[in-house]
């Protein structure tokens, strides 16, 4: 009878389409908004994510996010290097600067300075040019998405920072950051010339832990001996995300949109599915008269609900990922499709369809088989 149920559903073209569209729309809204949310969260920790082969980030104890680093002292670097279990520790600089283009326009950019000798923290994925070129005089590598945002910057183009020359020697595939500013990587020594700063210029210290030694143990040691905070990239990213969630209202905004998407979707999908079941009440009554048990009818309706949920889910996710694909992860829109999001939206849409199915089922269960004589 489950096959009969699916035929009943699928061969009622118009209603079937409108139900599947309703569910698709609901899924799309949920996944799309969820993508924007995860996209923003990803962006908020993008710089941490992009800085590869680092076990620990060391920063001032008052720091709440990667966008609000406080200057460390040079002596901190030596003290961290002395901590037992630290393989290496390098300087890392991040600062906002204004770049002057050849045509005289000014653009706000983020400048990241990486250790001159080791280049640790340099872009890990290049689109054009090579990280090795960073050793050249005045060299900087800009991220592709950021360069497009300021109207395209070509390799070889010269910029001026603070009356100092800069030459773009390559383009990286860095993840877009929260402020959507172009990111220019350069050597540490270069960065502190481009960016006007106070006395001290060390934003954070990047640490590699010796092989075989527990990262948490080393982190605790660094904390104890320096009074600084040492966190794994993931911890630091979540520290940043928590801050963004807490102080920017993004969570409330997007949460509201997701809730609205869910409610609107639930209304559309639930309503159309419910009305499908009610429209078919007489068919169900006929089946009941012919001796279909409550269990059989329940299975039929739930299978219909499942089918609708699965189709709508597939199409909704398909649509959302099309949008995500065309926009991200480095496009203009901050969208990022995660497995968690897929699971959550699947849970949401299936419970939604099941809910509608159960309501419809109640209605069918209450129907007298004698209704079929009317």
């Amino acid at each position: 009878m489950l096959i009969v149920a699916l035929k009943m559903l699928a061969r009622d073209r118009a209603k079937f389409l409108s139900i599947v569209m309703g569910v698709t729309f609901a899924v799309f809204l949920i996944v799309e908004q969820g993508c924007v949310f995860t996209g923003l969260m990803r962006r908020s920790g993008a710089i941490i994510l992009d800085t590869k082969s680092v076990d620990l980030w060391v920063f001032d104890s008052r720091v709440k996010t990667v966008d609000d680093l406080r200057a460390l002292k040079d002596s901190d670097l030596w003290r961290v290097r002395d901590v037992e279990g630290v393989e290496w520790a390098t300087r890392w600089f991040k600062g906002a600067a204004r770049a002057k283009r050849l045509d005289g326009r000014y653009e706000n950019v983020l400048v990241i300075g990486v250790d001159d000798a080791t280049m640790i923290g340099a872009p890990s994925a290049m689109v054009e040019g090579s990280v090795a070129d960073l050793v050249r005089r005045d060299a900087g590598i800009i991220d592709v998405a950021g360069s497009m945002k300021i109207g395209g910057v070509e390799v070889g183009e010269e910029l001026t920072f603070n009356d100092r020359r800069a030459v773009i020697v390559g383009k990286s595939a860095a993840t877009r950051n929260f402020q959507s500013l172009p990111v220019i990587h350069t050597r540490y020594s270069q960065a502190i010339q481009w960016v006007p700063t106070e006395r001290s210029t060390l934003s954070a210290i990047l640490v590699k832990v010796q092989p075989g030694i527990d990262t948490d143990v080393v982190a605790a040691r660094i904390r104890d001996t320096t009074g600084l905070i040492a966190e794994t990239p993931e911890e630091f990213r979540w520290r940043t995300i928590r801050y963004v969630l807490k102080y920017t209202g993004i969570a409330i905004n997007i949460g509201t949109t997701i809730a609205l998407g869910f409610i609107v979707g639930a209304a559309i999908a639930g309503q159309t599915f419910y009305s499908f079941a009610v429209d078919n009440l007489k068919q169900f009554a006929a089946l009941k008269a012919m001796g279909a048990s409550e269990g059989t009818l329940a299975a039929m309706i739930l299978v219909q609900a499942c089918a609708v949920a699965a189709l709508g889910y597939g199409m909704g996710v398909g649509l959302a990922s099309l949008v995500a694909r065309s926009a991200g992860p480095n496009g203009q829109l901050p969208v990022y499709l995660t497995p968690e999001l897929l699971l959550i939206s699947a849970g949401a849409v299936f419970s939604l369809c099941m809910g509608a199915g159960l309501v419809a089922l109640r209605k069918v269960a209450k129907t007298e088989p004698a209704m079929v004589f009317k």
Partner: protein, 260 residues
């Protein structure tokens, strides 16, 4: 109720069915619709025996309780009062689940509005009773096709109800009602939505295919032109059985001959 013993005289030669024995015995059926202040007593103390081997026609004016009666007899509606013994079982004692099983095993339905599932082809509709009783798909499909051949729709097995005329749809419904060999066939105004010729075709099919010594057939109608198909009449009026009559006892002007 004027009790008439159908075994008093032998069935007339014209009737194709030979009424055998009561397989369904209802006593004191009462069914009331509506709320406290406005109630309709659709069944007001009905006693009736339904015999196998022929067609019992329930006749009477619109609103007299015919549909309610066969709904109750077919175990799709619970009476407020009264008892029904059917095929040796007490319907009035059954819980809903047992009634469902009873219907699945014993009853075939033909409705005025056909009530075919519009999404399903003729053969898919006809095999439903077999699938419900757990017949393997292939066997169900074969039996459904054979049944459609018997109602003259061997070339329409794949047609959807919307592609069939009313008469053809009702023939599919007859195939569906008989495919699982039920012991009771109930037909509520089976020809009311059809033109005269289609109606006669449908009644002829019921006559030829449904009447069986092992099966009771109840046809509800208020169409006097169909009276010729009956073996026995239950004449209803205001929720009661006014009389039980054999064909020759019905007033001659209301009885038309069948057109086989």
């Amino acid at each position: 109720m004027s009790a008439v013993d159908p075994f008093e005289k032998p069935a007339p030669a014209r009737a194709t069915g030979i009424i055998r024995m009561p397989v369904l015995r209802a006593r004191g059926l009462v069914k009331t619709y509506g709320s406290a202040d406005e109630t309709v007593r659709a069944l007001d103390g009905v006693d009736i025996d339904i015999m196998s081997g022929g067609i019992t026609m329930v006749v009477g004016p619109s609103g007299c309780g015919k549909t309610t009666l066969i709904s109750v007899l077919a175990a799709t509606l619970d009476a407020d009062e009264g008892t029904i013994e059917a095929f040796g079982e007490s319907l009035h004692d059954m819980d809903p689940e047992a009634k469902t099983t009873f219907r699945r095993r014993n009853i075939g339905f033909v409705f005025q509005q056909y009530n075919l599932l519009p999404g399903l082809s003729a053969e898919e509709n006809v095999e439903i009773p077999l699938i419900l009783s757990g017949r393997p798909r292939r066997a169900a499909r074969e039996a459904a096709r054979a049944m459609l051949v018997r109602v003259g729709l061997g070339d329409k097995v794949a047609s959807r109800p919307s592609q069939l005329s009313g008469g053809q749809q009702q023939r599919v419904a007859i195939a569906r009602a008989l495919v699982h060999q039920p012991r009771l066939l109930v037909c509520d105004e089976p020809t009311a939505a059809l033109d005269g010729d289609s109606g006669r075709l449908v009644m002829n099919l019921i006559r030829e295919l449904a009447v069986d010594p092992e099966r009771a057939v109840v046809v509800v109608t208020h169409d006097t032109r169909l009276y010729g198909y009956a073996d026995l009449f239950a004449v209803m009026s205001d929720g009661r059985i006014a009389k039980i009559a054999r064909k020759e006892e019905m007033s001659s002007n209301s009885v038309a001959e069948p057109h086989p």
